[in-house]
């Protein structure tokens, strides 16, 4: 666990970057620092590994003040990932990843095989280990940055806007990869971003900071969205806070209708305005008009129980019928969530 105990950072020019910050980043969880530019996120993060020393207060790592630990020793036990990856251009990828293990005195062979294993872990072809950083794309370099930070298996990982310099598609896959890794590794992660969507997606807990380095709110994403502490947080969360909240509303309680499916060869005669054509092996084909006219229309699916209300609503909006198709793990139709059912669920979510 990382504990900020009344930490203040005043720079030489008098700027107060962090003001009396107290919070905890629990072991095995992702704590996100989010806030507008200049609010002191980077400063707060860098005080943990003493890249910056706090002016007042203490930061504790599992109860030990970091001030008492020699910086190089402290940092070798903390993974650190920065925006531009910061790979060593003169070293091959595998040697970049092996940096900290070698500093810790591992033998070369062991460090290298560990590095290869990590490249695979972060979704890179181990053959890339033989390349130099300039031969990798930005997204690949960022993955190497993550692999390098994990190389010596540190319990703590500090990440400063690690995915903000890559395009949105790559960013999404890097975020998914991080969540997948975290599910396996259970690191104590402090993650800095100015992107509230990223914060909500990744954080077990989100600390919203306001300019001047003061903590505005510390909460899990769901609470943050439903109960913002003040106008600053509300404004920072943005206009579509309501929609985002649906991400945290489950779909397991939705009442599904199973009488709206018809075989693919359906030729009309249903009293319903829309029916779902299903193939012989149980997969959705498309929406058909109840009178059998026209071609199958597009549909959207969600996995009840696993996907959120946001996904269910998204699926409903994709089809002319306004209904979302519920599918099982195998992709087979298990039922249909009608507009009325979704409406009722939304009304309930808005109350709660």
């Amino acid at each position: 666990m990382i504990t900020f105990d009344a930490v203040t950072k005043r720079y030489a020019d008098g700027t107060v970057a962090v003001d009396n910050l107290s919070l905890e980043a629990p072991t095995g969880e992702i704590t996100v620092f989010v806030g507008p530019s200049g609010c002191g996120k980077t400063t707060s993060l860098r005080m943990i590994n003493r890249m910056i020393d706090a002016t007042e207060g203490r930061i504790l790592l599992d109860g030990d003040p970091v001030q008492d630990i020699d910086p190089p020793k402290l940092r070798r036990g903390i993974g650190y990932v920065i925006q531009q990856a910061g790979l060593f251009p003169h070293k091959k990828i595998v040697d970049n990843v092996a940096t900290v293990p070698l500093l810790l005195g591992w033998d070369r062979g062991k460090a290298r095989s560990r590095a290869m294993e990590l490249l695979e872990r972060v979704g890179l072809d181990p053959a890339m280990g033989e390349r130099y950083p300039f031969q990798l794309s930005g997204g690949q370099q960022q993955r190497v940055g993550v692999a390098r930070a994990l190389a010596a298996d540190p319990p703590v990982l500090l990440m400063d806007e690690p995915f903000s310099a890559v395009d949105p598609i790559v960013r999404t896959s890097l975020q998914d990869e991080l969540l997948r890794l975290q599910a396996e590794l259970n690191k104590t992660i402090v993650f800095v971003t100015h992107d509230i969507d990223e914060a909500i997606k990744l954080g077990d807990r989100v600390a919203v900071l306001r300019v001047g380095g003061r903590l505005a709110q510390l909460a899990d994403p769901k609470t943050l969205l439903s109960e913002p502490a003040d106008d600053f947080v509300r404004e920072f969360l943005g206009h579509d806070r309501g929609i985002r909240r649906l991400q945290f509303v489950g779909t397991d309680g939705l009442r599904l209708r199973t009488d709206l499916t018809v075989p693919a060869g359906f030729s009309g005669g249903s009293p319903e305005p829309w029916v779902l054509a299903v193939s012989d092996d149980g997969r959705p084909v498309g929406w058909l008009r109840g009178d059998g006219g026209g071609e199958p229309e597009p549909y959207g699916t969600f996995r009840p129980g696993r996907d959120s209300m946001r996904s269910a609503l998204d699926a409903a909006l994709l089809s002319p019928s306004g209904c979302a198709v519920a599918v099982g793990e195998d992709g087979k139709v298990v039922g249909v969530a009608t507009r009325e059912v979704l409406d009722a669920a939304l009304a309930e979510a808005a109350d709660g």
């Binding site: 890249m51 940092r75 920065i82 060593f88 003169h90 070293k91 072809d125 053959a127 130099y132 794309s137």
Partner: protein
């Protein structure tokens, strides 16, 4: 052309204290000694100042001042002061000449390394010395070598002129040749000087190739690039 064959064909030119091998060795000795002494001063100083970031202005100003010194005048001055009993009066000006390019380029090379990279190195737990030795120097190496090469070329050229003072080196063929109207010696000496300068260039090119990481020079064997392309 006959001057060339006269000069290089004459067996008398290949032996003795004023033969080609002896003069070549003298030239090499003066140049290498001056360069080595200059490196001993300029590289550690450049590394220190570039790494700590303190004293940079002083370096640039004094280097520019030193660059403005007329080396030949300095050479004559030292010979007048110290005589020609030792090689000191030649070596001192040569060292003074060789220091600025090495110092400035080493300093600029280290200082110019991307701050993010320096930051990442410290962030992973490298000590100050490790950051310098394992990251900054390898990345700044092309510039450091450039400084060395510039110095070497100047030193080699100036060593030629140093023959004026009555000391040895390849310049003697040219200067003595003019004095005695032995034009074969003038032409032959000039050719040797050019070849020597080319050899110095070659040495530094080889040094650059072998010491600078392909990741820094961005020059990578074709095989590696080709084999990795499909995963890009």
């Amino acid at each position: 052309m006959s001057w060339l064959s006269d000069f290089f064909g004459d067996p008398a030119n290949w032996s003795g204290p004023d033969g080609i091998p002896a003069r070549l060795l003298e030239h090499l000795e003066f140049s290498a000694l001056a360069l080595a002494l200059a490196m001993l001063v300029a590289i550690p100083l450049g590394l220190l100042i570039g790494h700590t970031g303190r004293g940079g202005v002083v370096v640039v100003i004094s280097a520019n001042l030193a660059r403005a010194l007329p080396t030949l005048g300095l050479l004559v001055l030292f010979v007048l002061l110290l005589g020609t009993a030792s090689i000191l009066p030649v070596i001192i000006p040569l060292v003074l000449l060789a220091i600025p390019p090495i110092l400035v380029n080493t300093f600029e090379g280290i200082r110019g390394v991307d701050p993010e990279l320096r930051d990442a190195a410290y962030g992973m737990g490298l000590t100050g010395g490790q950051v310098l030795g394992r990251v900054l120097v390898p990345v700044a190496l092309p510039l450091i070598l450039l400084g060395l090469r510039l110095s070497a070329i100047q030193v080699v050229a100036t060593t030629t002129v140093a023959a004026y003072t009555g000391l040895g080196g390849l310049g003697r063929f040219v200067i003595d040749g003019f004095a005695t109207k032995d034009y074969a010696s003038v032409v032959g000496g000039s050719v040797l000087i050019v070849l020597f300068a080319l050899a110095v260039q070659l040495v530094f090119t080889l040094l650059q190739r072998t010491t600078v990481s392909p990741g820094v020079s961005r020059r990578v064997k074709v095989r590696q690039v080709a084999s990795g392309r499909e995963t890009t």
